[in-house]
Symmetry: C2
Subunit: 199 residues, 2 copies
Amino acid sequence: MSLSPLLDQLERALRCLPGVGQRTASRMALHLLDRDRDRGLHLAQALEAALTQIGTCEQCAVPSETALCRFCADSTRDAGLWCVVSSPADVLAMEHAGLYRGRYYCLQGTLSPLDGRGPEDIGLPRLYARVAEEQPSELIIALPSTVEGEATTFQIQVSLKETVRITRLAQGVPVGGDLGQLDATTLSHALLSRTEVPR
Amino acid sequence: MSLSPLLDQLERALRCLPGVGQRTASRMALHLLDRDRDRGLHLAQALEAALTQIGTCEQCAVPSETALCRFCADSTRDAGLWCVVSSPADVLAMEHAGLYRGRYYCLQGTLSPLDGRGPEDIGLPRLYARVAEEQPSELIIALPSTVEGEATTFQIQVSLKETVRITRLAQGVPVGGDLGQLDATTLSHALLSRTEVPR
């Protein structure tokens, strides 16, 4: 049941947004229609501009509307340090942390044979070619701590260990983490990778 | 901090949606970019179509892209019974309840002198003119149970009580409502409007 076919169509279209179900879509559509038509039209233009013009950086596959992304184009960043991530969101998370000043390499997800995602699908051959070409001094693997992430990390390690120094993010107790709430695997990792307390 | 200016612009534009803050907008933008460009572009078209083509019904001010909305155009509905609501969402709520088979009149909100919303701003003069013209048999007031809603109901009552029979939705205990959780005003209303139990 809806007020008009176009409104109905807008509600269905809004459900492509993650986390937006039928009721939220209906509320959003009526809000835009009733109070915010200008900003709604601006959203339509922004969507079209972003989705038609944003491609990927030719060096590191991070989303970008220019040939080089802002990280590869930034000459103040360390061009020899590459951080391998599995999604653009992880680039944002690393940038948000604020410490990292190198470049990125963005894979299209992680290896998952069950879902039919092999090395080509996530862009591993291209990473290997880029590493052979540019010879970075260090590759920091920052893939998710999941079975798929571990498998992808292993694959990269096997293929590139002769070519480049490979490191990965430390695993351990998160800051503010409560030992009692922590899973056994993380705690074991934290124990094995314990660090010396200076005297 | 964002990956590209266009993505940044899309994230800002997405925040016109109700309930969407910075993190949600960022997640939505990356989701569309990464996995759902086609549906994102479809959303852009649906937004533009709806926001440029939907006007209001010339009889009852319900949003519609045709001169008459689907309720006024439906000859099986009772044209002499009008339900006065303060927003298109309330039309949907009434329709969802499923019992009502009359027409609607949609005001643009409720009277609120503090926010500078007077009778003209919410379309009261037009309602009075339409009532004088069409002479419906009954006006059912279904405005929100707030101070502003009550003030608007009172204003309509004063202006139209000589012209048309005016009723309003019953106030009382909601179905499934727990008396212990109910506010005192609602409970007093329910007590004053108590109904006879058939013997």
